[in-house]
């Protein structure tokens, strides 16, 4: 009751100086806007990336050679030759891994490709026909190579949209021969514009049978990845264990600490993406939070001016019976009302800008960027704004409450 009356008094006080009040909270508005914008965009980006991760398929498990990187020093150990044909053979045996429905080895690397006088450096993927299915791509022209061509080390290639454009321009690419490293390949398929995907950009890819890639392009006998697909999502955990056991047996490893391979699943990737975007968002939001502190200092400054200006009012209130605590509460509440209003305005502005940006990104990048209203950040923004008001309003409120009524009444 007492509090509600004080609230009314403070509100009237602010209303009397509307322009000043609005200018005072600008810092808070900007700070909260920035926080909401960053968190909202961060969540949007995360949703987008996670969406792409999901598009890889929840049933897919990637076997990666080397030890799982735990830090920068482990990075080089990822380039090892531990995955070989015998591993594929072992994994293919249903006794070893009964729930595996499909297996595909992949080799990849960057190589220059040329046609006539044009040269381009696509990412070469050596794979099997399953590639199209697992990564959900299809040629707009021509076809995918078949298993016979894989077995026969065929010199065929499917090129990405961008590669076709760079090498052939407006010319028809299908059926033409391009040169990759020292070998000539016949273009049997051209992919449509897929757009930038997070992990793989098929626009700049050239896909060949993995056998051909190993033999003629990279000159290696091992694989960079083995992609395994479980028959159902429920069997993914069991399959992970099967794959680990099979590969350990195949590599003669009895101590899991010494594994020369590790597995990546969609769940892992999602977790990693989540962690990275969260850390980034948090960092940026922390930077934005600094502006809240600056805004708070601004509020303290203006409140002090306001207290001096309203010395007479304070004196009058004291003369008619206001206690120090009444005056304190009045000015403290003014500060908190200001910052909370600023916070609300910031949330609305931040959400508005975030929404605009999501529209623009959706149009220009042709990505499915979803606007996410960050309820958590909004609640936090209001709370932080209120705390800023309390903290930075405390000193001016104290100054106001300590004014002697006669000093205050004499003040001209």
């Amino acid at each position: 009751m007492v509090f509600r009356r004080a609230l009314g008094t403070s509100w009237k006080g602010l209303n009397t100086h509307r322009t000043r009040s609005a200018l005072t909270i600008l810092g808070i508005v900007i700070g909260v806007t920035a926080i909401i914008l960053i968190v909202s965009l961060g969540e949007g980006a995360q949703a987008l990336i996670l969406g792409e991760v999901q598009s890889i398929g929840a049933k897919t498990i990637a076997v990666v050679p080397g030890r799982e990187p735990k830090g920068p020093s482990d990075f080089l150990s990822t380039f090892t030759d531990s995955l070989k044909q015998k591993d594929i053979d072992a994994l293919s045996r249903t006794t070893n891994a009964p729930h595996i429905s499909r297996i595909m080895p992949i080799v990849f690397g960057s190589q220059s490709a040329s046609y006539g006088g044009e040269t381009y450096r696509p990412t070469i993927y050596g794979a099997t026909p399953l590639f199209a299915d697992i990564y959900n791509i299809a040629p707009v022209e021509g076809r995918i190579f078949n298993d016979d061509e894989v077995r026969g080390y065929a010199d065929v290639v499917i090129i990405g949209n961008k590669v076709a454009e760079e090498l052939f321009g407006n010319e028809e690419a299908l059926g033409k021969r391009i040169r990759i490293k020292e070998k000539s390949f016949r273009v049997i398929g051209v992919l449509g514009a897929a757009g930038q995907s997070l992990f793989l950009n098929f626009d700049t890819a050239a896909i060949v049978p993995y056998t051909t890639a190993q033999q003629y392009i990279f000159g290696i006998k091992y694989f960079h990845r083995i992609v395994v697909e479980a028959d159902t999502e429920a069997n993914v955990p069991a399959t992970i264990e099967d794959v680990k056991a099979t590969l350990r047996a195949s590599h003669g490893i009895d101590n899991p600490e010494k594994d020369d391979f590790f597995l990546e699943t969609q769940a892992d990737a999602m977790e990693t993406v989540g962690t990275i975007t969260n850390v980034l968002t948090l960092f940026l939001a922390a930077v934005a939070a600094i502006s809240l502190v600056v805004g708070g200092v601004g509020i303290m400054n203006i409140m002090l001016v306001s207290v001096t200006e309203r010395t007479r009012e304070i004196g009058l209130r004291k003369a008619v019976g206001a206690k120090d605590t009444d005056i304190m509460l009045q000015f403290l509440l003014e500060a908190v009302i200001l910052t909370v209003l600023g916070g609300l305005a910031g949330i609305m502005l931040g959400a508005f800008f975030s929404f605009l940006i999501s529209l623009v990104l959706g149009r220009t990048l042709a990505v499915n960027w979803e606007f996410v209203f960050p309820f958590g950040a909004a609640a936090l923004g209001i709370a932080v704004a209120a705390v800023v008001g309390l903290v930075f309003g405390l000193y001016p409120a104290r100054v106001a409450s300590k004014k002697s009524p006669i000093e205050a009444l004499r003040y001209e």
Binding site: L316, A319, A322
Partner: protein, 238 residues
């Protein structure tokens, strides 16, 4: 019955090492229901005295008892409560809240009174009626004339029916006609409702509307006289 008891009241201001004695030992009593004017030239200490009597400041030394209790017995918190419930103030410069209506201004002391909010409007309206401003209830103070503003201030002082009203040069910023209207309201409040009134003024004409005049000079009480021929101004009241 004695309402105010002052004995050897002294007040000295220290400002940057400069010692300024404003009151040098003043003693007097004021009884309940009296209408007393405090007169003196500027610098005589009359405002300082009013601040002490009105619990707005504490004396440097001496005894001040209001309504039976010495100021020393009160905490600042208690002083605020006494000011709220038993004292009303009228200032030369009105001191109304900006952008607030007559009603809002008069309700201000109620805000700090602990009286339930539902009674506020009724109490404020009664006080406003007593000063004859019912037709200005919802006007903002900037829309009122000087005389009307001072009457709002009187209504504000009245709203909690205090024992005493302190008026510090209430007519100082008014033309003579509005000033007379204000004085006759004070006089009527004293006569019909029994409010004790302590008025500060430097005009003999105004002071002579009181029953008694305390003359201050250089911080000392030089004369305490009964007004023989009290001026009245009833004809100014409708």
């Amino acid at each position: 019955m004695v309402l105010i008891e002052a004995r050897d009241l002294e007040k000295t201001y220290w400002d940057d090492g400069v010692v300024t004695p404003a009151l040098r030992g003043v003693s007097f009593d004021i009884k309940k229901g009296e209408f007393v004017a405090i007169m003196g030239p500027s610098g005589s200490g009359k405002s300082t005295l009013l601040h002490l009597l009105g619990f707005l400041d504490r004396p440097t030394s001496g005894l001040y008892r209001f309504d039976g209790r010495a100021i020393d017995e009160h905490s600042d918190h208690d002083l605020a409560e006494v000011r709220n419930r038993k004292m009303g103030f009228v200032f030369q410069t009105f001191n109304l809240l900006p952008r607030a209506t007559t009603l809002e201004n008069v309700k201000l002391p109620l805000l700090y009174s602990g009286i339930p909010e539902k009674k506020w409007n009724h109490m404020a309206e009664e006080a406003i009626e007593a000063v004859g401003l019912t037709h200005r209830l919802h006007h903002e103070s900037s829309q009122l004339s000087g005389g009307e503003r001072q009457r709002v201030a009187i209504a504000r002082a009245l709203v909690l029916t205090p024992e005493i009203i302190f008026a510090d040069e209430p007519t100082g910023n008014l033309d003579s006609k509005s000033g007379q209207a204000v004085m006759s309201i004070l006089e009527k409040l004293n006569r019909t409702r029994g409010h004790t009134i302590v008025l500060i003024t430097h005009e003999t004409y105004t002071a002579e509307q009181a029953e008694r005049i305390l003359h201050l000079m250089d911080g000392e009480l030089v004369k305490d006289e009964k007004v023989k021929a009290r001026r009245t101004s009833d004809h100014f009241i409708k």
